[in-house]
């Protein structure tokens, strides 16, 4: 027999199309070097050096998991490259970190409420990493021998000889396995895989060394190399799925179809709670890892007050992604401040509004929103129709925000019991008593 030269299976490389199919399709990364310094022109990015350096730092923090649950705001004139930087970060993070990109106006839809749309966006950016492990027997079939019992009834017995380049062995077959082999039409020369746990047989192709057995083969025939190494291997595969995908799979019987049509509808909160507890259980048992990803909201000025309060709360969750927001407006009134006042049946005076906005800049948004309610009450108490600056001032003095309350507590801590400074004195007092 002539020596058959060993043929190497060619590496299949995917040729990505190098065309400009979208405004940002040419961006392949942030274009930073190893010291996180931006190069002038690199990976599709040009200029904006300081912004790119800053995003590089944020990227490293994301990779190390030190920035989950925080928000980043990118602001600038239209056309300055905010979306481009976000695209660059997405490419640089790679496939394993979930990156969801959406525009602020997308959450307004007739099919879904705003909070549902935001919740879905959040859950699309949180990944769960799981691992599956199987023992498989992979080898080239040398011989399949099936003996029918002489009596006509009774189980068939068989022997299967499998080999790899390093070893060869014989397996005794039971009835079910014989049936699977016959169903798969496994013959000598085929390379097969048997899953040890399920007993499932899959044909990988035909061995190259047996390519000359027949003069003509069907169009579906694949030729593969004879497997190397052990016959019985352990295969471990990790997958990263997003919480949203798990939600959808669980919320309907044919949930996976909904993933493609996009029409997921509202997912009940019981389903979400179930999934959260299941994932938490897996985390405890060491079976899963949470991979916080990135949620990028472009045109964030389109979001209104409700959305921002929702975002505030959602970021405090223990499984929260990094939120990157981009806008081309400067400091503006948040959409809905006017409506919020109307909803609370509160009319505000112009300068009261200004004071409130300034307050929200210095303290926090939530504090400012709560103040509206309180100020409204105060205004009503003095029988006024509109909230004036003095009402806000009064509310401000009555209810402290976080910074002020911590400061206040620090100042008067010695008046409280179990204060650290007091302890030594009281210890001495106790001993002498």
């Amino acid at each position: 027999m002539a020596a058959i030269p060993s043929v190497k299976v060619a590496e299949v490389r995917e040729f990505s199309r190098i065309e400009r199919i979208g405004t940002h399709s040419h961006i392949r990364g942030l274009g930073l070097d190893d010291a996180l310094e931006p190069r002038e022109v690199s990976q599709g990015m040009v200029g904006q050096l300081t912004a790119r350096r800053a995003s590089g730092v944020v990227l490293e923090m994301i990779r190390e998991g030190k920035i989950a649950g925080r928000a980043v705001l990118i602001a600038g004139q239209p056309g300055t490259g905010k979306t481009a930087i976000a695209m660059g970060m997405a490419q640089a993070l790679g496939d394993n970190t979930p990156f969801t990109s959406m525009a602020g106006s997308e959450i307004y839809s007739l099919e879904m409420s705003k909070t549902e749309a935001l919740t879905q966006a959040f859950r699309k950016s949180i990944g769960v990493r799981i691992k599956e492990e199987t023992e498989i027997i992979e080898g080239e079939v040398v011989e399949v021998q099936i003996d029918r019992p002489a009596t006509g009834t009774g189980a068939k017995v068989g022997k299967l000889t499998l080999k790899t380049t390093d070893m060869e062995t014989v397996y005794d077959l039971g009835n079910k396995m014989i049936e699977s082999l016959i169903k798969e039409k496994a013959q000598a020369g085929d390379v097969i895989t048997i899953d040890k746990a399920t007993g499932k047989i899959s044909k990988l192709g035909r061995s190259f060394t047996r390519a000359r057995d027949y003069d003509a083969t069907g169009p579906q025939t694949r030729f593969v190399q004879c497997p190397e190494g052990e016959l019985q291997k352990r295969k471990e595969v990790t997958h990263t799925v997003t919480l949203h995908e798990i939600d959808v799979i669980n919320s309907r019987t044919q949930g996976f179809l909904a993933l493609f049509s996009g029409d997921t509808g509202e997912i009940k909160s019981e389903v979400r709670d179930q999934i959260n507890s299941k994932v938490a259980e897996w985390r405890e048992e060491g079976k899963a890892e949470i991979v916080p990803g990135v949620l990028f909201i472009d045109e964030v000025h389109m979001l209104d007050m409700e959305c921002f309060s929702f975002l505030n709360r959602a970021l405090e969750d223990d499984m929260a992604p990094v939120l990157i927001m981009a806008t081309n407006r400067g400091i503006t009134k948040i959409r809905g401040t006017k409506y919020r006042c109307e909803e609370e049946d509160a009319e505000m005076q112009e300068d009261a509004l200004l004071v409130l906005t300034r307050l929200s800049m210095e303290t926090s948004l939530r504090y400012a929103i709560q103040l509206i309610t309180v100020a409204n009450l105060i205004a009503r108490k003095r029988k006024a129709m509109e909230i004036a600056v003095e009402d806000i001032k009064k509310a401000y003095s009555l209810f402290l925000d976080e910074t002020r309350s911590t400061q206040y507590l620090k100042d008067i801590q010695d008046e409280f019991m179990f204060n650290e400074e007091d302890e030594q004195q009281s210890e001495v007092a106790m001993e002498t008593a």
């Binding site: 990493r129 691992k131 599956e132 799979i249 996976f256 897996w282």
Partner: protein, 129 residues
Amino acid sequence: MDIEKTQQFLIQTETAAQEILITKDELVALDFRRQKTREAFRALKNDMIPGEKAWMSVGNMFVKTRTLKAQNLLEREMKELDKDISDLHNKLKEQVKMLRDLEGKPELKGFDLQPITKEADIIMKALSK
């Protein structure tokens, strides 16, 4: 200075890679033994007459033992081999981790998780449809 550092680096990475290749070869050898032991066990089971003695090769020696004793021996050996192979797999993971660390490549995440094959199967089936 640079040449020495490069040399050191090369020595380290080559040693680490060689260790990995050695472990892989050990795995193949162990699996070979496992398959042969299993074949012997099956042959004994199929052709044995309980009570009679059978010939068994232990390394270089041929030993005639009672079939039951031979079966027990083989079973114990298979269990030991399974355990050794498991340990080697873990060792291999550590060695690959070290090599990737030396080469400056990012860590392969997720391989130290406990496996959840049943649920993972369901999820991946549902997602790939």
